[in-house]
Subunit: 151 residues, 2 copies
């Protein structure tokens, strides 16, 4: 398996779970916060989707800015599908050689890293916040939750 | 850097954060559950420590059973130090060759994997539950929380 195919599988093994959790969040819970200083459920989901995009687009040397309009934030499941499709395209666009290219992330994490490492950090960031999201969704009353990884 | 040194750093970049969160959990919050079906804070911490141990000990072909007595569960910070020290020893014991050895995890995840992959899964499991723990600790009233990764 090519390195980018392996990274795509690693990403999707977690993103598919993220998307299952997002599908459980009803609009009346979009503003739900577990604690006063927490991100709301909607803020957390948008943070996860746009941060992964920022890392993956940077790795592919494309514009890292969000690719959605404010109005699309009313349907988080659709937004998740949009960002997931785009993330897969970005990862698939990376050749074995370009995965070794150094990506300048000085503004974001203070250093430059090979594109491959940028994608690995992006997935780890997703796993961390998906761990947050599991608690949010359980607190919304859901008890039938997926495993944390989909193989 | 050797592969086991790199895996040790990857592990510690997350475990150090786990341990900072554990240090914030006062005994009166050990039984705290964010939702009725959640693990309690104490159960979650013990699950994280013993599961990492189970994976790392399996990777090093040692007994995967917990290494603490029930009475040690009254001091979660001390328990975390004990399991962290042991995890470092287990990871350091793995040579480049032995990281490629296939480890039979049929009983746990239904397949065999190279020792290196077993350690990677162990860290991902830790990141996931650390993401849970961040929400627990914020709900206990803490707002001065570490970054999710320590470099």
């Amino acid at each position: 398996m090519s390195k980018s195919a392996s990274l795509k599988n690693y990403f999707l093994s977690h993103r598919k779970v993220t998307n299952e959790l997002i599908d459980k969040i009803e609009p009346e819970h979009f503003d739900y916060k577990p604690a006063p200083t927490s991100m709301s459920a909607k803020e957390l989901v948008i943070h996860m989707l746009t941060t992964f995009h920022m890392f993956a687009a940077s790795a592919a040397k494309q514009a890292p800015e969000p690719i959605h309009e404010k109005s699309e934030e009313d349907d988080l499941s659709k937004l998740a599908d949009k960002y997931t499709d785009e993330a897969v395209k970005l990862i698939e666009s990376l050749s074995e050689d370009s995965l070794n290219d150094m990506i300048d992330l000085t503004d974001i994490i203070g250093s430059s890293l090979p594109a491959e490492k940028v994608l690995e950090i992006a997935v780890v960031h997703e796993i961390h916040h998906k761990g947050n999201l599991f608690v949010y969704v359980r607190e919304m009353g859901h008890t039938d939750l997926p495993l944390f990884i989909k193989t």
